[in-house]
């Protein structure tokens, strides 16, 4: 692997043992996965669930990060735990843990974004630039919609990239690996009407499993598709599969035409997708064992201000059932915006809570926090998949459209 003089100095320990460890990791991963060089990264998303003693070891010489770095979502929110109904004693323990991390992040210049959708909160990599993000939903959106280039990597490599400003040149960072391999053509039975978020999600959840690690091209998606709808289309693909790049013909920047997306080649495989795929995805995601809903959650990935606006207008003048919790996941920045726009007031009056937690991570702790949750109503395939599996099936999922979930929040019943 070719290294610049500066990289060699980092590897030799000239900038301290933490930077040396980080550079070693980058070189090792580069050698294993066929990189002949490193590239500069302009944006990093760090996963804050790291062991704190490892973090301390990496920053022992007090280095600041070399490139813009923010934090991914976490399972606990110091600002909303009370409204969420988390027991005091548990919350205090979590606050101590998150404070230790935050102090180190401040020293390192890591920005506490705490969101899985940092493109709504100030971390937006430019077209053609290199990024390393933890969190697979962000990886696929940045590659596909923004046209920035980042490979599917694990948490520690993101921190190593933040500390050194470099990343190994692998996978979809290389232009030759960015073309579509698998073509999904939208069939006539799906073209007749507009799909909801949950329908886009269920369709993609089914298709991700077919795609595995391949780059996808969608042909036949309406050119009027919104950014939020694209979020629901992209984010299930690395859950049921390991997709990191998904072109949409006429919509995403590297797919002006079908030919451009496929590099003028035939796809390895073409599949006409229809209602049967959507139905199959939906049936896998809907696992509810009872019609009594305990908790409704929106925001996987985190909601945009537009999504919060919709929910607030729908709830205006209504009340969440006393037997149900309604949590809306978003970044702290978008929450502030919702407060400034008067939407947070409407939500609070209705009994909903704005929070920046990750529901999939938090579902591990609900029981110990004293929160009864046997049935969750969700409109996101990511959280529907992870919450069900992480809980070993003890939390089941009512999967449906936003209106179905909102109705359940008001009535306490699925379909009631």
């Amino acid at each position: 692997m070719h290294l610049t003089d500066e990289e060699k100095r980092m590897l030799d320990g000239d900038r301290g043992a933490g930077v040396q460890k980080a550079m070693r990791m980058i070189v090792k991963v580069g050698e294993l996965f066929g990189a002949e060089k490193t590239v500069p990264v302009s944006s990093v998303q760090h996963i804050p669930l790291e062991p704190v003693d490892w973090l301390a070891e990496m920053v022992q010489d007090g280095p600041k990060v070399m490139t813009f770095t923010g934090t991914h979502s976490y399972y606990f929110d110091p600002k909303s735990w009370k409204a969420m109904g988390i027991a005091d004693q548990c919350a205090r323990e979590e606050e101590v843990a998150i404070k230790r991390h935050d102090e180190l992040y401040r020293v390192m210049d890591i920005v506490p974004l705490y969101t899985c959708a940092p493109y709504y909160a100030g971390n937006v990599p430019r077209y053609g630039s290199y990024f390393l993000w933890g969190g697979s939903a962000g990886q696929v959106l940045c590659n596909s919609l923004l046209g920035a280039r980042g490979d599917r990597v694990g948490g520690p490599l993101c921190l190593a990239a933040a500390i050194t400003g470099r990343a190994p040149y692998t996978g979809v960072m290389r232009p030759e690996n960015r073309y579509g391999q698998l073509l999904f053509e939208i069939g006539d039975d799906l073209k007749r009407y507009n799909l909801t978020y949950a329908e886009y999600g269920a369709l993609s959840y089914c298709l991700g499993a077919i795609a595995g690690t391949k780059n996808i091209v969608f042909d036949g998606i309406p050119k009027t598709i919104s950014q939020e709808e694209l979020k629901y289309l992209f984010s299930p693909l690395p859950v049921s599969g390991s997709v990191v790049l998904c072109h949409v013909v006429g919509v995403t920047p590297e797919a002006a035409t079908l030919e451009a997306a496929l590099n003028n080649k035939k796809p390895e495989q073409k599949i006409v997708v229809g209602r049967k795929h959507l139905r199959q995805g939906w049936e896998q995601l809907h696992t509810a064992t009872s019609r009594d809903v305990d908790l409704v959650h929106f925001g996987c990935p985190h909601c945009s201000i537009k999504e919060i606006q919709y929910i607030a207008h729908w709830l205006d003048g209504k009340k969440v059932s006393p037997n149900v919790k309604l949590w809306i996941g978003t970044s702290s920045q978008t929450r502030l915006l919702a407060q400034n726009a008067g939407l947070a007031d409407v939500l609070e009056k209705a009994g909903a809570v704005l929070t920046n937690i990750c529901i999939s991570e938090a579902s591990l702790y609900l029981k110990s926090w004293g929160i009864n949750a046997r049935v969750l109503a969700l409109d996101s395939p990511r959280s529907a998949h992870y919450v069900y599996r992480v809980s070993g099936g003890s939390i089941s999922i009512a999967y449906g459209n936003r209106e179905m979930c909102l109705n359940a929040a008001i009535t306490g019943k699925w379909g009631g």
């Binding site: 070693r24 990791m25 090792k28 991963v29 294993l32 996965f33 996963i47 669930l49 790291e50 062991p51 003693d53 490892w54 933890g134 969190g135 697979s136 490979d151 599917r152 990597v153 694990g154 948490g155 520690p156 490599l157 692998t170 390991s242 599996r389 992480v390 070993g392």
Partner: protein
């Protein structure tokens, strides 16, 4: 018997093999405090990987996996070494971050050659794996 592969992370270890014929995720599949496989219905459910030579197909799953490997190592409950058919980035980073000797791409399929209970020596520097004693 002696097998030759590619070094993923350096270091030497020997111990009893535990073999799993599938992809493994440290996040979700492993309890880092006990070193046991914690998933209901998993073929290795309740079995400990602590101090063992863990032989499996490849890695998969969440990008948080390497953090879990590190926690298991700090708790003294990590595998002594890991061998897989073909590693992917997440499990490779787990080995590197937790400093667990690891080898892949052996000249004979490790899942067919090594059996649970065999005594195995792994040299993560040279990529050499020796089966010292068969169970």
């Amino acid at each position: 018997m002696r097998l030759k592969g590619r070094s993923i992370n350096s270091g030497k270890a020997e111990g009893e093999a535990i073999v799993y014929n599938g992809p493994f995720s440290m996040k979700g599949d492993l309890d880092p405090k006990s070193g046991e496989v914690s998933v209901k219905g998993h073929p290795l459910e309740g079995k400990s990987l602590a101090g063992k030579i863990f032989v499996f197909a490849t890695g998969r799953g969440s990008t948080v996996g390497p953090y879990i490997a590190y926690e298991a190592k700090k708790a003294g409950m990590a595998p002594a070494a890991m061998i897989c058919q073909e590693c992917e980035p997440i499990i490779a980073l787990g080995a590197i971050m937790a400093d667990i000797p690891m080898v892949d791409r052996l000249d004979k399929d490790p899942l067919a050659t090594i059996k649970t209970g065999d005594w195995v020596r792994v040299d993560g520097d040279s990529g050499i794996v020796e089966i010292i004693r068969q169970s």
